[in-house]
């Protein structure tokens, strides 16, 4: 695959992930439905804050800031948890492979 093809594919995947994230149905109780794939998930309060921040266009730092504002969390634990959650979102195609987080 040429670098142009790779870049086009990556751009398509980013767009699709952004669209999917925007269209997620998230209930008050943290039940999440992805209308594109039919997959359902449950997230805790912190996961819900992350999803809502991402849907509002937040990057990794802003997501961490939103969590600090809502929960009593600090330092490396927070960074690691955010990274792990982003990894899960990537696996489900809700953030693109190349997204700078």
């Amino acid at each position: 695959m040429s670098s142009t093809e790779k870049s086009e594919k990556s751009e398509k995947s980013e767009k699709r992930a952004t669209q999917k994230l925007r269209e997620l149905a998230i209930s008050e109780t943290g039940f999440v439905f992805d209308p594109y794939t039919g997959a359902t998930f449950t997230v805790n309060a912190a996961g819900k804050v992350i999803l809502e921040a991402l849907r509002a266009g937040a990057g990794r730092e802003a997501v961490a800031e939103a969590l600090r504002g809502r929960f009593d969390v600090h330092g490396e634990d927070l960074e690691r948890d955010v990274d792990e959650f982003f990894h899960l979102l990537r696996q489900h195609g809700l953030v693109g492979e190349e997204t700078a987080l």
Partner: protein, 364 residues
């Protein structure tokens, strides 16, 4: 002005663990207000579970198996129509479609009796056969897994140069076995030939999520409606036991391209697999409603009702809206019946379920 209720016959009442679609089609027809006058079940076996659905079918008749030939089917349909005049028949079994298509041709029995159908032509039926999947994919610009049609077992010894292991060995009409090497491929080949005859289809083993679309084509290249579903629970035969409607515009575009390329007429089930790169690969097109088609009615697009109206020569506007996230979860229930009912269907080949509140003169 309200429409005249139709007398509609449906086949495939074998609602077993690998269910025929007839009971689901009947439920969808019953769910459409004002559509059905009488609903007639056409069964191949006296113990088909749909025979005993008192709340669905008013009348049930046993019909001859497709293997008994066209003349036997023709004679039986004449008898049934004389007893219960039919407006529409919706056939739901792959193997019976060639017979019903023949009978629905201009000048054929169904036309002479004034019974409407909404079916593909014989040429369309052949076009979507497994052996022609790649050509269909090319014509409709839909990706397909690499597929080869095999006429002799010797071909399998070199096939992996074109289709790498693991791949699927498929029967020409039904059935699929996964082969991880030549020994398994040869065994699968013989099993398929023994059951379904030649040729056998070898199809690349693509990994991904299974997605099915129930859809209806208008016969002129347009789409009446389509509802995509992601399987969420599978049986050991790979059949959907639960599923959920999903929204992915690409899936509806695929269905629309299929109809535009083929000018498909009637219902179908488009089976796809979304591979790891997000590409939708066409696995198969079934030329009839799937057993889960009641979901279309539940999600707001009653496609069996649309087909009944089209078969009766009524206009149906294209449907595009449906409720995303509508689920179905199948259930196995024990129906209670009586010896009298079994006796009636076994000895006379017919059974009638008078509905509560129905005019006793109408009840047979």
């Amino acid at each position: 002005m309200s429409e005249r209720p139709l007398t509609i016959a449906v086949t495939a009442l074998n609602a077993t663990d690998n269910p025929g679609p007839g009971v689901a089609v009947a439920r969808a027809l019953r769910a459409e207000p004002g559509l059905c006058g009488r609903l007639v079940g056409l069964a191949y076996d006296c113990l088909d579970p749909g025979v005993y659905t008192r709340d669905l079918c008013d009348d049930v008749y046993v019909i001859p198996y497709p293997s008994q030939g066209l003349v036997a089917l023709e004679a039986r349909l004449r008898e049934i129509h004389a007893a219960t005049p039919l407006d529409v028949i919706i056939p739901n079994v792959d193997a019976e479609l060639p017979s019903f298509i023949r009978l629905a041709e201009p000048g054929g029995l169904l036309e002479r009796l004034g019974i409407g159908t909404f079916l593909p032509t014989a040429a369309l039926l052949e076009l979507r056969s497994k052996a022609k999947l790649e050509a269909l994919g090319e014509a409709a610009a839909i990706a397909t897994p690499r597929t080869r049609v095999i006429g002799a077992v010797e071909d399998l010894y070199t096939i992996d140069r074109e289709v790498p292991y693991p791949f699927w060995v498929k029967g020409v009409y039904y059935g699929a076995k996964r082969a991880r090497g030549v020994d398994e491929a040869v065994a699968a080949f013989h099993a398929m030939v023994a059951q379904w005859g030649l040729p056998v289809i070898v199809q690349a083993g693509v990994v991904g999520e299974e997605i099915d679309i129930v859809a209806v084509g208008d016969g002129a290249g347009g789409m009446i409606g389509a509802v995509p579903m992601k399987k969420t629970v599978l049986t050991d035969k790979g059949k959907a036991w639960a599923g959920i409607t999903i929204r992915d515009p690409e899936l509806l575009e695929i269905a629309a391209r299929f109809f535009a390329a083929t000018r498909w007429r009637g219902p179908c089930e488009i089976e796809l697999l979304r591979d790891q790169d997000g590409v939708h690969q066409l696995l198969e097109v079934n030329p009839r409603f799937p057993a889960w088609c009641y979901l279309s009615a539940g999600a707001g697009q009653n496609l069996p009702a649309a087909v009944a109206r089209l078969a009766a020569g009524r206009a149906v506007a294209p449907m595009r809206e449906f409720t995303v996230g509508t689920m179905f979860v199948r259930i196995a229930l024990d129906q209670i019946s009586t010896l009298e009912e079994l006796q009636a269907i076994t000895t006379s080949g017919e059974l009638h379920h008078p509905r509560e509140g129905a005019d006793p003169k109408e009840a047979r």
